[in-house]
């Protein structure tokens, strides 16, 4: 049956409410326009110029992009970022889910205390976490190396050994994300109707079956959310690599954001290169997010 379409007429009250609504939106729109939209458009425009604040801008077309794409350090940084995504995203999801699952089953007076303690890392800034873990991973006086030496082993060179350098970045990153991620998983878990588990029990399902056939499918939206957030966050990783390794050894822990930051700091550098690198990373992150959304089709999210 064909639907009749007619132009909707707003009442006077609705129009008044609309005006109020737009007025309420205006400050946010204004701020986003000033601090996000305009700089973004300017960035795109500037990326086609050679510029440095003091000289006339010189149109160079796509030269900045070609230069940054040819740059070996930037290439390594992008590859490193994806390596970190592959290492950190699944590891974090598994750890956070495991913690949340354990918490859910605790059902004791300690649960709140544990939740609070788990959440503490989430309240700490990345740079502070970096400082804490620098002390832990220090070569001579660090906690780990003191223990290693006490046990009669050689000190671990966290900055010069590729494996340990990645390890020294992965641990603080996982630690920082533990609080928020665990609470998010915990919220997702307690949201699963208990009837599902009761019905499964009646049908003879064991704990493993319940995990595979009820818990994980029901947590899909949480996992999608985490996957996107963590992928974006990992591709933008900056403070921890800067504090822990500075990109060493052999640029194996150099991340795109650290590279871009160093480019910005380098007074002799062309800002166009740096800007092009930042725009490229933004595009990569946007594409990855779209891709993740596409391949992990969440029924609930599709249903809205």
């Amino acid at each position: 049956m064909a639907k009749k379409t007619r132009k909707h007429k707003y009442t006077a009250i609705q129009r008044k409410e609309m005006v109020i609504g737009y007025l309420m939106l205006a400050p946010a729109v204004l701020l986003i326009t000033i601090f996000v939209v305009i700089p973004f458009i300017m960035s795109i425009q500037k990326s086609f110029y050679e510029w440095n604040f003091y000289k006339e801008d010189v149109w160079v077309g796509i030269q900045n992009f070609r230069r940054i794409l040819r740059n070996k350090s930037f290439q390594r940084a992008v590859v490193n970022a994806f390596k970190f995504v592959l290492i950190l995203v699944p590891t974090q999801i598994i750890i956070q889910f495991s913690f949340a699952h354990t918490l859910k089953d605790l059902n004791s007076k300690f649960t709140n205390a544990v939740k609070m303690l788990i959440y503490i890392p989430g309240t700490i800034a990345g740079i502070i976490a970096g400082i804490i873990f620098m002390f832990i991973f220090e070569y001579k006086g660090g906690l780990i190396n003191q223990m290693v030496v006490a046990l009669g082993f050689e000190r671990i060179a966290f900055k010069t050994n590729k494996f340990w350098a990645i390890f020294s970045i992965a641990v603080p990153t996982i630690w920082l994300g533990l609080g928020g991620g665990t609470i998010l998983n915990f919220a997702g878990l307690i949201n699963i109707p208990t009837e599902f588990y009761e019905a499964a029990s009646i049908d003879g399902a064991n704990g493993f079956h319940k995990l595979i056939y009820i818990t994980i499918p029901q947590m899909r939206n949480i996992f999608v959310l985490q996957c996107i957030g963590m992928t974006t966050g990992t591709l933008q990783m900056f403070e921890i690599p800067m504090m822990m390794t500075g990109g060493a050894p052999r640029e194996s822990t150099l991340t795109p954001m650290l590279y871009i930051y160093n480019g910005f700091r380098n007074a002799g550098g062309n800002m166009g290169d740096t800007l092009s690198g930042a725009l490229l990373m933004m595009s990569i992150i946007a594409i990855i997010n779209s891709f993740v959304f596409t391949i992990i089709k969440s029924e609930k999210s599709i249903e809205g």
Partner: protein, 485 residues
């Protein structure tokens, strides 16, 4: 239920222990043999962008704020046009000395009021770039010598010749004048000049082992370090990759290799057999176990030497003042020597001359005021106005003006042998590299590749050649060497 409670208790325990453990690791500044080795700012600076311009800042003062104001901030001076100066915070001696000079200048009421701010090193680049972007850069600011060529290329500075009298420029020490002059124009007012590589060694340990003098060749250095190191003391503290080797070995390259990594016209890489020997030295350093697997501090930080963690440490001449001021008990046991060379000849370049200058911003609102202040500071009749800073720094840096250098000679204590060593190194010193930083990073990576065994020497040299050729092409460097002879 009991099982669940036990798990909860266990979780609480693990987390509590974890949180406390994070606070139990030894802090970097702790004293004793198990001293921590990392200074936060040093580590930040070990990023791949560390240049000579990063060698100071709050590394030296422990300041945790970005900007330090003069203790006379807010003082009621005679009326005058405001002139803004920015300097990095190079420590208490620097801040106190130049705050006092600015104060004395302002009291004279010469028509200008200088406002100088001291910015933490770690925040310097961000602040400068933000100020340039917003058009609020100070009238004049501090820069390291090696930043001058790039600053000129970018149009950040203007020459000072139109503002500063020729007499002041003529009084500059020759090598310093060379470092601040490009295309016949003078671009900076030098404050200090310091050799970037000096060998510090433990006199007491060498004497006990029967050595009467420090090593003169690379081989001797490695042999002595391997022989004298102990379980509690490493052999040699050397610069690390990620930027440090890129700049701190400029002098080693010029003196031992015979040239830098670019041809004089900057049109081709120049990585020849001279670099092979240079790379073999780095390879031997690591293979022999003379150096720790991971350095105990940033290159600019002499702290491990002060704490007795090294037999030898390579650091800039600034290390002297830190050892004297911060480690007075260790200082009598420390000797200062010329960096060993490939052939033992120490009468050639072993270090570049780095240091700090003031540049005049291209958008300065009051260049006349800047000129008036520096004309006052560098008054020929008052060498102490700059010289007292060098006294405070224990003569660890060379004065950039002849009259100040002469005045300092009258002030130096008779037993300060190290002054002669530093002056000798400086006399053979060369200006810091003027080529883009990316070239230095290619050398840095080449050394890392060889020292850590990632590549053999030939492959590492070939990689460096390719990287440098790419930089030459990308930045259109051919024919742009501002110091082409």
């Amino acid at each position: 239920m009991k099982k669940v409670s036990f798990i909860a208790l266990l979780l609480v325990l693990v987390l509590v222990i974890g949180i406390f453990a994070s606070g139990c690791a030894q802090k970097p500044g702790d004293q004793g043999n198990n001293n921590g080795d990392v200074n936060l700012d040093d580590d930040v600076n070990q990023g791949d962008d560390q240049t000579p311009g990063d060698e100071t800042g709050d590394d030296e003062t422990g300041e945790d704020t970005d900007v330090t104001q003069s203790k006379y901030y807010g003082y009621d001076y005679p009326e005058g046009e405001t002139v803004t100066l920015w300097s990095q915070n190079f420590g208490e001696i620097w801040v106190n000395h130049f705050s006092e000079q600015v104060h004395q200048y302002n009291l004279e009421g010469r028509g200008y009021t200088i406002v100088e701010e001291f910015v933490a090193g770690a925040a310097w680049d961000e602040r400068m770039n933000a100020a340039r972007a917003s058009g609020t850069a100070p009238d004049a600011y501090i820069q390291s010598y090696n930043h001058i060529p790039a600053g000129i290329r970018n149009g950040y500075y203007v020459p000072i010749d139109d503002y500063i009298s020729k007499d002041i420029i003529d009084r500059m020490v020759d090598i310093v004048r060379e470092m601040v002059t490009f295309d016949g124009k003078t671009y900076a007012i030098p404050i200090l000049a310091e050799p970037s590589a000096v060998l510090y060694y433990r006199k007491d340990i060498l004497e006990a082992a029967g050595y009467t003098e420090p090593p003169k060749t690379w081989d001797e250095l490695i042999e002595m370090a391997v022989e004298l190191k102990t379980d509690d003391m490493y052999g040699i503290g050397v610069p690390y990759w990620g930027g440090e080797i890129g700049w701190s070995t400029w002098g080693m390259q010029y003196g031992n290799v015979g040239h830098g990594p670019l041809t004089d016209n900057w049109d081709e890489p120049w990585i020849d057999d001279g670099y092979r020997e240079f790379l073999e030295f780095w390879k031997k350093l690591y293979e022999s176990g003379a150096v720790p697997e991971q350095p105990l501090s940033a290159y600019v930080d002499i702290k491990p030497m002060g704490q007795g963690d090294y037999v030898f440490q390579i650091c800039g001449s600034w290390g002297v003042s830190f050892l004297i001021n911060d480690y007075p008990e260790m200082w009598p046991n420390v000797g200062v020597a010329v960096m060993p060379t490939n052939d033992g000849n120490q009468e050639k370049t072993t270090a570049t001359i780095g240091g700090w200058v003031y540049v005049l911003d291209a958008k300065a609102k009051n260049p006349e005021g800047v000129a008036d202040y520096f004309t006052w500071l560098l008054d020929e009749a008052h060498p102490e106005r700059l010289g007292q800073y060098h006294v405070g720094e224990r003569f660890s840096k060379a004065a950039p003006f002849t009259n100040v250098a002469q005045w300092l000679e009258t002030q130096a204590p008779a037993d300060a042998d190290y002054v002669a060593v530093i002056n000798k190194i400086a006399s053979y010193g060369q200006p810091e590299a003027a080529y883009p930083w990316e070239i230095s990073m290619a050398i840095d990576r080449m050394v890392e590749n060889v020292a850590m065994g990632y590549e053999d020497i030939d492959t590492a040299m070939e990689i460096a050649r390719e990287e440098i050729a790419q930089v030459i092409q990308d930045y259109e460097l051919a024919g742009t060497n501002p110091r082409k002879k």
